[in-house]
């Protein structure tokens, strides 16, 4: 039960951080970091697939409510929930890492954590930005925005996993 509670608190905390703080910081005009996806990244390894997908979808939908973009973040959220098992496999080699119940920086090591998060952040932003513009007409300028935003998001996610979440969940 305790673990469920931690994930719920993390969910609320990350969403509030996203919509009240980060959405108001506009680095260089139109770059927006999206750290709320850390929630999906830190869900337990053993979570069944359908639950993971619903969690990603629900998370995106709540962010959508705040940003008046029904479906946009939900679509990107579902995608990273879907991609997560494959990324875990890619980063680890086996499907479920031994002796570790849920992914985090301290438990998985910095190299594993970096490659895991940066892949998912890129996957998320790629889907998000192209869903938003709904066309490939400005492919390169969109891709450029994706790369810059991925950089910002990844830095914030690494900082967050250093300072906040690990201490809280221990």
């Amino acid at each position: 039960m305790n673990k469920v509670l931690i994930n719920i608190i993390r969910f609320i905390g990350l969403i509030l951080l996203q919509v009240l703080v980060l959405n108001n910081i506009r680095f260089g005009g139109y770059i927006n970091p999206y750290v709320y996806i850390l929630f999906v990244m830190m869900l337990p390894f053993a979570m069944p697939g359908w639950m993971l997908l619903l969690a990603g979808f629900g998370m995106g939908l709540v962010v959508d409510m705040f940003m008046s973009t029904p479906g946009l973040h939900a679509g990107a959220g579902v995608f990273i929930a879907f991609a997560r098992p494959f990324v875990v496999q890619l980063a680890t080699g086996s499907k479920e890492p031994e002796n570790v119940s849920d992914p985090s920086l301290s438990k998985m090591g910095s190299r594993w954590w970096f490659s895991y998060t940066v892949t998912l952040v890129f996957a998320h932003h790629f889907i998000l930005f192209f869903l938003e513009s709904f066309s490939f007409s400005q492919f390169w300028s969109t891709l450029w925005r994706i790369i810059i935003s991925v950089t910002f998001t990844e830095i914030l996610i690494l900082l967050l996993s250093l300072f906040f979440i690990d201490r809280k969940s221990r």
């Binding site: 005009g29 139109y30 927006n32």
Partner: protein, 272 residues
């Protein structure tokens, strides 16, 4: 049948992913149309409350600026009033018909960094706000109301793929349409300027009054760059918005008392 069940069991993860993804895209494509889904009803009142708490705290930080701006606006309005009064033979406020009314509101959430941006304000249908009303700030045109809940409304910002505004060039009286091409929130574009109309940097652009949403002559911005067409079709121009969308706080909802009459007339015209 058995095969079907086995198939679903084996691929349930992928199937469910596809299902949810399609659901999200359907929601998204519906939300992209001008008339958005009913979802804004629910979301407005829920997220609206949290946004208002947040804006209630952050509003204090800009009180001085807001105050100065309001003072300036007051001064301008008083000057206009005295000019107008001087022109009237006598001021009879009872018999004058008011066509446009303005309801002050506060911005509680606003974005500028996306391709499609929305503004949420703290007035809803309880205050008489309806869909398709205009939204302006002391500096100029801001957007159009697209969703209304009890205490809140959301507006499509001019910084939106589907926001088009009928505009007039102040010194030539020619009419064109303003869009926002994405990217920098300070600049919009006009792509349908007739070739015989030449513009210069700094020319003022105002609302045409053709949309029934905004009264005529509201400022929108100034010409930043005029780009004559090479093929000799329609010229384009880049427009600097007079509104700083990044600083939006105090706005007015524009109510058109003749809206229904005008709409009814349009309907008759199109039915013929």
């Amino acid at each position: 049948m058995y095969n079907l069940i086995r198939f679903v069991q084996k691929y349930n993860f992928i199937l469910m992913f596809v299902l949810l993804e399609v659901l999200a895209i359907v929601m998204l494509s519906r939300s992209h149309t001008y008339h958005r889904a009913a979802i804004s009803h629910v979301t407005n009142s829920m997220s609206g409350r949290i946004y208002r708490i947040n804006s209630g705290i952050t509003a204090y930080f800009s009180l001085r600026n807001v105050n100065n701006k309001l003072k300036e606006q007051n001064a301008v309005l008083l000057r206009k009033l005295s000019l107008l009064e001087a022109r009237l033979p006598f001021s009879d406020t009872l018999n004058q018909e008011i066509i446009f009314d303005y309801l002050p509101a506060k911005v509680i959430s606003n974005t500028i960094q996306f391709r499609n941006n929305y503004i949420m304000i703290d007035k809803g249908y309880r205050d008489g706000v309806k869909k398709d009303m205009g939204l302006i700030s002391p500096e100029g045109v801001v957007g159009i109301i697209i969703g209304v809940s009890e205490h809140y409304s959301s507006a499509m910002s001019l910084l939106h793929k589907y926001a088009t505004l009928s505009v007039r060039f102040l010194n030539s009286d020619q009419i064109a349409n303003l869009h926002w091409g994405g990217g920098n929130y300070q600049f919009g574009e006009i792509v349908d300027i007739p070739t015989h109309v030449a513009l210069q940097k700094g020319d003022t652009i105002v609302t045409s009054g053709h949309s029934f949403v905004f009264p005529e002559g509201l400022i929108i911005g100034t010409v930043e760059e005029f780009i004559p067409s090479e093929k000799g079709n329609l010229n384009t121009a880049s427009i600097k918005f007079s509104v700083d969308f990044n600083k939006l706080r105090n706005v007015f909802i524009v109510k058109n008392f003749h809206r229904e009459e005008q709409d009814a007339l349009m309907k008759i015209k199109t039915n013929e």
